[in-house]
Symmetry: C2
Subunit: 447 residues, 2 copies
């Protein structure tokens, strides 16, 4: 049988799947500063109307504009790959498949939403998008999309990452975007922080504040976000929709789907289309894999909290470790988020999604086995899903059961090689947060 299950370009899905149409439970709305449910109007200064509509829509299938499908064709459909090499190394009776989202020019699943976001903004006459980025995955994905669609782009990158991961910044520049280490002199928020502490190494919270101020104070500029929000996860469902077509092609269906979970966008992207079947009675397990050092879904509290550490966003109902939670600096930067997508959180809360936490060292061990047997050096984030798949495959072996496993290879590790160096040099360690620490963070983060 084939190593890769491919689709033709005309098989790129014509719609995104909106899970909000089918959720078997109500979803608590985001709340504004007045404690009342946020109205769509409140978002209008920073988002285009089309995206706001998508954020709240209850329509199951949202058509993908033809032009977005043409941009998707620059790298999509992505291959569904049978991990023969990995299966052989594990001597497992399980079949392991992965969806290879690392083939996008930005190297991850992020362009699945940056491209339609850029497109809708362009359509509304917006000239420039602003955003923040931590490790740089999202910033580079938005810079790529703006280059393609023809928008200007300004990225506020957390200063410490800007210094430690210079090549993500180079990518952002290569695609023609402007990039500022945050806090910057570009915004009043940034200048204030710099006045207080000229050597501030920045934080995602500050960078978000800079990017939103930039958007709010410039008529021609909107803000763009890479995870957590409903419309972001909606765009990412292109992953699962393709995967379902690919499984159909070979007459198979996964027993379990795994994905790394930070804000929830790649997890929602690969899994939501399978929920459509699950809600209709199909037996399928969905597993979110998160780091033990930032165990939002496995040990957080389900409650209203701020989306950012600065407490400037609307309040959203989600699993959270408290918006003041400061996760240790593990290498999977994309998974260091105190909260989680409200939809993902609710699925876990309602027993429809499992959550698994794994340690840093075992994720790198899994990543190297994957690199050697499947050839691709994965992003540390994606290595969490690989670890999860390994656990499933070894359990199948123990139980002598056939099983079909699907995981999302959300990105490659080309810009994370220093993490591999540290692992191979024995410089990395595990970090399990204590109950006491979580309790303290939650109490410090009271709203």
């Amino acid at each position: 049988m084939n190593k890769k299950i491919l689709l033709e370009e005309n098989e790129i899905p014509s719609y995104w799947y909106n899970i909000l149409a089918d959720l078997p439970f109500p979803l608590d709305p985001p709340l504004g500063p007045d404690g009342k449910p946020l109205t769509p109007d409140a978002l209008a200064p920073i988002f285009p109307m089309k995206l706001i509509e998508q954020e709240v829509s209850r329509q199951a299938e949202i058509p993908i504009p033809e032009e977005v499908r043409r941009y998707y064709a620059y790298w999509r459909p992505t291959p569904l790959v049978r991990a023969y090499g990995l299966e052989k190394a594990l001597e497992t009776p399980a079949k392991i498949y992965f969806k290879n989202e690392s083939v996008s020019p930005a190297g991850s699943h992020k362009p699945n939403t940056s491209v339609p976001q850029a497109y809708y903004n362009k359509l509304e006459g917006i000239k420039r998008l602003s955003t923040e980025t931590g490790a740089g995955q999202w910033g580079s994905a938005l810079a790529f999309a703006c280059g393609l669609v023809g928008l200007e782009c300004t990225v506020y990158m957390v200063k410490v990452s800007f210094q430690q991961k210079p090549y993500r910044a180079s990518m952002i520049r290569a695609w023609g975007a402007s990039i500022f280490p945050s806090p910057s002199e570009q915004t009043s928020v940034g200048r204030e922080f710099l006045k207080k502490d000229p050597d501030s190494s920045g934080s995602l919270g500050i960078a978000i504040s800079e990017a939103t101020e930039d958007a709010a104070t410039h008529e021609d500029t909107h803000y763009s976000l890479g995870s957590v929000l409903n419309h972001v996860l909606l765009h990412q469902t292109i992953i699962g929709l393709e995967a379902k077509k690919q499984f159909e092609k070979i007459g198979e269906y996964p027993d379990v789907v795994l994905a790394p979970c930070g804000g929830g966008s790649n997890l929602g992207g690969i899994s939501f289309p399978f929920y459509r079947d699950k809600f209709a009675g199909k037996r399928i397990r969905i597993v979110a894999v998160e780091p033990k050092s930032c165990p939002t879904l496995t040990r957080g509290e389900f409650k209203y909290d701020f989306g950012d550490s600065a407490g400037m966003t609307p309040l959203i109902k989600m699993f959270t470790l408290g918006h003041n939670y400061a996760p240790p600096s593990i290498h999977a930067g994309g998974l260091r988020y105190h909260g989680d997508s409200p939809i993902v959180s609710s699925l876990v809360k309602n027993g429809l999604m499992e959550a698994l936490s794994v340690n840093q060292l075992e994720t790198f061990e899994a990543a190297l086995l994957f690199a050697k047997t499947e050839g691709i050096i994965p992003a540390p984030e994606s290595a969490h899903a690989i670890r999860g798949a390994l656990i499933e495959a070894l359990r199948a072996k123990e139980e002598g059961k056939e099983k079909t496993i699907l995981f999302n290879l959300s990105g490659h590790g080309h810009f994370d090689m220093s993490a591999y160096d540290d692992y191979l040099a024995g410089k990395l360690s595990n970090y399990e947060v204590t109950d006491e620490q979580i309790k303290r963070s939650l109490s410090l983060s009271k709203i």
Copy 2:
């Protein structure tokens, strides 16, 4: 029409095309230290018999082993991509296509030969491969292949590159290979150089000597080379064979094929299958694009010279700037070779291939236009072909002519971002070598 022209896995070619069967002129043989044509036996201590046979074979179609085709399927067939974005930006009537070899796990065309080389060595009972690497493209491709096939791998990396490009070394380690900055303490050659100069920053010549000594002094170890040799170019013809099938699918045929040229392997790979038609009378132009700072084909001399700067290899008949030529350190490290594949050299000498030299700054300018319009950040080597394609496309516009252009995108630039930084910061410059310098190098390199 589609953005990408794809092939199914069962369409991976079943043979490599051996241009030696059809060359309309004789090829001068490599010469041993005694000045007599090298016998295949002389190569037996460091190469497996199957590769030596391929090096001298006159059979036009050499079957690709099934197992190699299965490994190829890890990333092949690679897409043939219509560069709509680039065409639009240039407002050219020309159709521009590129073969995207950057999708391999190592990020370039190099695994097309590292995989069969590892496979044939494994088949002969070899346990380990040794090789040298400059910027790290080849070393990482061989490490990847050895990981997949199940061989040990030792890479001697020129010390200055080892220090300047640490992430290529990390990749090599991630795939399980051993890597030593050269000169190293591992070999007697290395120790000698270190005794003379403990701070030696190394050279490709020294690294070659270390890798071949390692292979020659260990029964279970062979040596592996990433370019120049006939069997290397043979394996690379998978690129052109696929491209021909892809053009057939859409009922088109290129008027001109361009590729960057260092040692000649990606150029030979994409173009040789088209020569089969050219030899039969078909009108098609093939253009090698090289840097003006290392203008081997455009300004070198066609003569016998050593393949390495240390003067330890057999003598080969080729275009050369003299084996002592020290090209300036331009960022396209893969194109800084004083000589060229004997087959490629002979095609140019016999008027069957054109050669074009371009300046560094115009290649980066082309690279950024490509990144913005096609999304992919190219390797600086590949940017030479992009520049060449731009020249062809703009000429077509001037002349108001339709024309079909094909170029080889030999790799991505994820490990070359510092070069982009330097370009964007205005730190790069052009460098055109003078006639005087070439004359001096050739006279210093007399054999």
